[in-house]
């Protein structure tokens, strides 16, 4: 087990270094003089020279990367070009918002998808299975920015049940915050909900065909016990793996959802910084998100190795 943990840790560090390199290189993809592109045509020669120096563009690329990377290791991701503050403090203000909404969305999708997947598999071919399968397929196909707009139209504009947009911290005003969070959380949950339901259904279908399930049934166990104690335990493993991947979709979703509902989180910061070409922020966001995703996968992999010795020894 120790060897397995060590191997996975080293792997994660290598991946992180590569991510940092990818994040860093985006600035250098910009066609032409990056400083000029960032500041626009009206900038004076002096401003351009200053920015070039600030970003280190006057140095060879590997020197720039080395400097950026060693600073990043010390928790210094540079200064934002537009916010005129350190990247870390800009991100620190917005990260909790995205984590809060993302966690709620993930919880919501787990709570609904696993029972839905089980019901769908156990009652295969019944009307409930058809409804769940169709809903999951729609969930995979619906553009979530459009779902958000539909929600705003019906629940805010027509029925007046929910506020149109905005974000309030649950610590400031819990009731308002919850009302504002309902639609964004549902929109964020749609993709994880659909993928997890489909995965639960298909791995459950796979498992209930196995011999040990027939054995359990022939022992005279109640169907409920067979499903929850015998089948689910094995069927859930691929679902847990998939759970680790959901962080990617939640962050992707937050880019769209925060834009529609005007929520000051990482997603919105990302979009505005990309279009403003505020690259220190963009690089910082990518790095922070990647660390979160790598950590999530690491935790899933380690727990997986703990549960299933075959993976450990591979």
């Amino acid at each position: 087990m120790a060897g397995f943990v060590a191997r996975r840790l080293v792997q994660s560090v290598i991946v992180l270094i590569m991510v940092s390199f990818i994040a860093f290189s985006f600035l250098h993809l910009l066609p032409g003089d990056a400083a000029l592109v960032i500041l626009g045509g009206e900038a004076t020669q002096e401003e351009i020279l200053n920015l070039r120096q600030e970003l280190g563009l006057d140095q060879p690329m590997w020197v720039q990367y080395g400097r950026w990377f060693t600073n990043a290791l010390q928790g210094n991701l540079g200064r934002s070009i537009f916010h005129r503050e350190s990247v870390i403090s800009v991100i620190a203000k917005r990260l909790p918002v995205t984590i809060y909404l993302g966690t709620l969305a993930l919880l919501l999708s787990i709570l609904i998808s696993i029972p839905a997947g089980i019901i769908s598999a156990v009652r295969r071919g019944h009307i409930s299975d058809s409804i769940i399968t169709v809903a999951a397929n729609l969930g995979m196909a619906i553009p979530i920015f459009w779902l958000g707009i539909l929600g705003i139209y019906f629940f805010s504009l027509k029925l007046g049940w929910l506020p149109v947009m905005g974000y309030t911290s649950p610590l400031d005003n819990f009731w308002l915050s919850t009302k504002q969070a309902i639609m964004p959380v549902i929109c964020l949950a749609v993709i994880p909900l659909a993928t997890l339901t489909r995965q639960t259904r298909s791995s459950m279908l796979e498992v209930i065909r196995q011999d040990y399930i027939r054995t359990a049934r022939s022992k005279g166990l109640k169907e409920k016990t067979v499903i929850t104690r015998h089948a689910l335990k094995n069927a859930i493993i691929p679902v847990v793996t998939l759970l680790g991947l959901q962080a990617r979709y939640l962050v992707g979703g937050s880019i769209l959802v925060e834009q529609i509902f005007n929520i000051p989180g990482m997603g919105r910061l990302m979009v505005s910084s990309v279009f403003d070409k505020d690259f220190p922020i963009v690089q910082g966001c990518i790095l922070v998100v990647a660390i979160a995703i790598i950590l999530a996968n690491l935790v899933i992999d380690l727990s997986y190795g703990y549960l299933d010795p075959r993976i450990r020894d591979d």
């Binding site: 792997q11 290598i14 991946v15 992180l16 590569m18 991510v19 390199f21 990818i22 994040a23 985006f26 600035l27 993809l29 910009l30 066609p31 397929n137 729609l138 995979m140 196909a141 619906i142 553009p143 920015f145 459009w146 707009i149 539909l150 705003i152 139209y153 504009l157 489909r198 995965q199 298909s202 791995s203 796979e206 691929p238 962080a247 990617r248 979709y249 962050v251 992707g252 880019i255 769209l256 834009q259 529609i260 990302m270 979009v271 990309v274 279009f275 070409k277 963009v282 966001c285 990518i286 998100v289 990647a290 995703i293 790598i294 996968n297």
Partner: protein
């Protein structure tokens, strides 16, 4: 497999293959949902190809006197704030969706499969380097990667296609590598080495074709993903430049007029959903026919 083939059919050499194809089509199109999916995709392709003939109006021509009209017999879905016919813009928008879908998947597929083939075939350090790089790409959410790449490359529709393609690449590389590792053990690959085939020849003539079935499924499923991602990016303002029509951008433009003209946002959104749904259903159907073992893995 107990099929009666006459001597002539056997001699002509193509009999079993035609039967296979026929059986494939029967099983594949036998399910009504899949058939509906195929029909939606065909309609999309025809619409995109013959947009100038089908569209009732010019999608770009502005006429402020008829701005923001409700649906009428002249403008079936009404008009936008600049007096342009919504239906015609949706019809032209199908071209963007379809082109981006195919080109992005093409870019991602070719690059990803090549990387996966190299990693799986050569193994060792090549495998290590390529796969850690792929892991790094997987640690960046695809939409985020496509957004940053698209803007960094300079924006515009072409760059969005490339950016989306690159964001799709990791899945292909992983799947291809897994397939290659399995196929590499086959006797015909070893035989190829023994008779002195070059690595290049073994890779592309012998290994590659035998890795394809699950990748074909992934391509179909990814067409939906690519179209959805393009819509998301154009919703955020990246992609085709105005006055060109793209569905995602139309949803965004209509957002401002949600209270008075909800159709402006609703109609293009429904199109995105239908098309993505169709590609997903057809992809699932293909997977079930080509390789039922894959159910739930891609």
């Amino acid at each position: 497999m107990a099929e009666v083939t006459t001597t002539n059919e056997i001699l002509s050499g193509n009999a079993p293959r035609t039967n296979e194809l026929r059986r494939f089509m029967r099983v594949f199109l036998g399910r009504k949902v899949v058939l509906v999916g195929v029909i939606i995709i065909l309609v999309l392709i025809i619409t995109a190809l013959f947009a100038p003939q089908i569209a009732p109006h010019d999608p770009i021509k502005q006429n402020l006197r008829i701005a923001l009209q409700s649906p009428s017999s002249e403008h079936l879905l009404g008009t936008d704030p600049l007096g342009r016919d919504i239906l015609s813009r949706i019809i032209y928008g199908s071209r963007v969706s379809l082109a981006v879908g195919f080109i992005a998947v093409g870019v991602g597929g070719v690059l990803g499969m090549t990387l996966g083939l190299l990693a799986g075939y050569f193994g060792r350090i090549v495998d290590l380097l390529i796969m850690r790089f792929i892991d790094a790409m997987m640690a960046i959410p695809p939409l985020m990667l496509a957004l940053v790449l698209g803007v960094s490359l300079g924006g515009g529709l072409n760059n969005v296609m490339i950016a989306l393609g690159i964001s799709l690449l990791p899945t292909y590389a992983r799947l291809m590598r897994g397939q290659v590792l399995a196929v590499k053990q086959a006797d015909y690959v070893k035989a190829g080495k023994v008779v002195g085939c070059s690595d290049f020849r073994i890779m592309f003539r012998h290994v590659f074709p035998n890795c394809l079935p699950p990748l074909i499924v992934l391509v179909t499923l990814n067409l939906g993903v690519a179209i959805l991602s393009e819509a998301s990016l154009s919703f955020l303002g990246l992609g085709i430049s105005p006055p060109g029509a793209a569905w995602g951008a139309m949803v965004y433009d209509g957002y401002t007029y949600l209270m008075t003209n909800p159709l402006l946002s609703f109609a293009p959104g429904i199109c995105i959903m239908l098309v993505v749904l169709a590609f997903n259903i057809v992809g699932d159907g293909l997977r079930d026919v080509l390789d039922p073992r894959l159910r739930g893995t891609i």
